[in-house]
């Protein structure tokens, strides 16, 4: 095994100098000792790499369904960071009720993801709960970018320019999550399981315009 090779480690990829770890023949305790012993920086970097790897799937929306399957190693760090960032960005700009807005965006994001996932399951899709919440959380990233942009360039942007930026972010988000969600459902139920996602991102996007 050469160094600087991408090897699967845990649930993500780890680049850098890595010894090949053979999980098949190692028992659970040895694996845990390995990750406990490593320096904190390594753990953090590994998680950050995992998040960035998944974000790359959001940034370049892939319509081919096979590629969407790699998002199945779910984790909730990414959605948590993105939802905190979005809630803080939108809350800072509001003078009076910033705590209400912060709490509301947070609840809407997590509650909305849960509701959409339960809806997909009820319609008969074979989707695991946390995978779906993870994908929906990561796909909020473009809306985050739009919110941050609008916050920093507030005085230079008129209403219509904001509308264009937020509209582009919304379309980008929806396309990113489409490939994952539609691979789970039957042909005849695709539109009705994707419509709630559309509504969810539209709800979050409209907040960004009115900052």
């Amino acid at each position: 095994m050469t160094d600087n090779q991408q090897v699967p480690f845990g649930s993500g990829m780890f680049q850098g100098q890595a010894k090949f770890v053979d999980y098949a023949h190692m028992n659970q305790q040895e694996v845990q000792v390995n990750t406990l012993d490593e320096p904190v920086m390594d753990t953090l970097l590994r998680d950050i790499n995992m998040i960035l790897y998944k974000l790359s799937y959001v940034i370049i929306p892939r319509m081919k369904e096979t590629q969407g399957r790699k998002l199945r190693n779910w984790d909730l760090w990414g959605p948590l960071l993105l939802s905190l960032l979005l809630a803080m960005t939108l809350g800072i700009n509001s003078n009076q009720s910033s705590d209400t807005i912060f709490g509301t965006i947070f609840i809407i994001m997590w509650g909305g993801s849960a509701v959409i996932t339960v809806n997909a399951k009820l319609l008969g899709g074979q989707v695991s709960f946390f995978q779906s919440v993870c994908v929906l959380g990561y796909c909020v990233f473009p809306i985050n970018v739009a919110a941050v942009l609008i916050t920093f360039l507030q005085s230079y942007l008129g209403f219509f320019l904001r509308l264009i930026i937020v509209g582009a972010a919304f379309l980008w988000s929806t396309f990113s999550s489409l490939s994952f969600m539609s691979s789970m459902m039957n042909e005849e139920k695709k539109v009705i399981s994707v419509y709630p996602i559309f509504l969810f991102y539209m709800f979050l996007s409209w907040f960004c315009i009115f900052i």
Binding site: S94, T100, L123, F203, W206, I211
Partner: protein
């Protein structure tokens, strides 16, 4: 016993046209008749599994679109012929959520248009929880009223879930209206209100027609009147609570009344 059931169903399937989830629910019902076969979880916690509710979400895209298009037509009365008249919860639930979103949007657009030049726009978010409670309560209570009324005139074809389904789909008319309500012209707003009242009431009554056809006149008018009164109450509450913040003077639509402003005097303009 269960193996025989599967066999029989598969033979009968073309003519019986039972969907998969209905078959599973029937199997579960037959299991329930045999108490030894059930685990404790199945006996008491069936309500909390997803499979229990799957029966009510047994829809396809075509079916939902057909029902929505039918709901826009207030005179057809064929709502229960679509898809066999099976009650479902997908349509009402997501139509409600869409309605909440469009109303909140429209209220905020009105507020945005009334912005003074130097003012910073504050997104009025408090309206969303209130809207949610209003819409969900309305959708829970009104079908109960209809069901009780229909039971009083002694018919049993429509269960509570049927009433819920049809009431949920009738709210589709309100979605474009709530968006158009952001136009600050009072005449347009009243016209839209009247249109929604008329459309929803006639949609509901023409679909209850099969029950109403054979009734004596007084009872028929009573039911129609009940539907209309409930709709009027809800729409008036809706319009006056959520869309009351329109200041027509500020938008230049009504001539300004000359009022003396006290505050500058108090603050020392002398």
């Amino acid at each position: 016993m269960l193996d025989n059931l599967n066999q029989d169903v598969s033979i009968l399937q073309p003519s019986l046209q039972m969907t998969d989830s209905q078959i599973q629910n029937r199997i579960r019902q037959m299991k329930m008749e045999d108490p030894d076969d059930q685990t404790c979880y199945q006996k008491f916690c069936n309500l909390f599994t997803i499979e229990y509710y799957r029966e009510y979400f047994d829809v396809t895209t075509e079916l939902v679109i057909a029902k929505v298009v039918n709901a826009f037509n207030p005179f057809s009365g064929t709502f229960f012929d679509i898809g066999g008249g099976i009650p479902e919860l997908y349509g009402p639930f997501w139509i409600l959520n869409t309605l909440i979103f469009t109303t909140a949007l429209s209220v905020n657009i009105i507020k945005y248009m009334q912005l003074q030049p130097g003012e910073h726009f504050e997104y009025q978010f408090q309206i969303v929880p209130i809207l949610t409670i209003f819409m969900y309560l309305k959708t829970l209570i009104v079908p109960m009223i209809y069901r009780v009324a229909l039971k009083c005139v002694s018919q049993d074809r429509l269960t509570l879930l049927h009433c819920l389904t049809i009431y949920g789909y009738s709210a589709v008319v309100m979605i474009p209206i709530s968006l158009l309500n952001s136009i600050p012209n009072p005449a347009i707003q009243w016209m839209l209100l009247v249109y929604v009242l008329f459309a929803q009431t006639s949609f509901l009554t023409s679909n209850f027609n099969q029950e109403l056809k054979y009734l004596p006149k007084e009872k028929k008018y009573m039911i129609v009147g009940l539907v209309a009164v409930v709709q009027i109450t809800i729409m008036i509450l809706y319009k006056f609570y959520f869309f009351s913040s329109i200041n027509y003077e500020q938008l230049g639509l009504v001539k300004k009344r000359t009022t003396t402003h006290l505050l500058p005097h108090i603050l020392g303009a002398n």
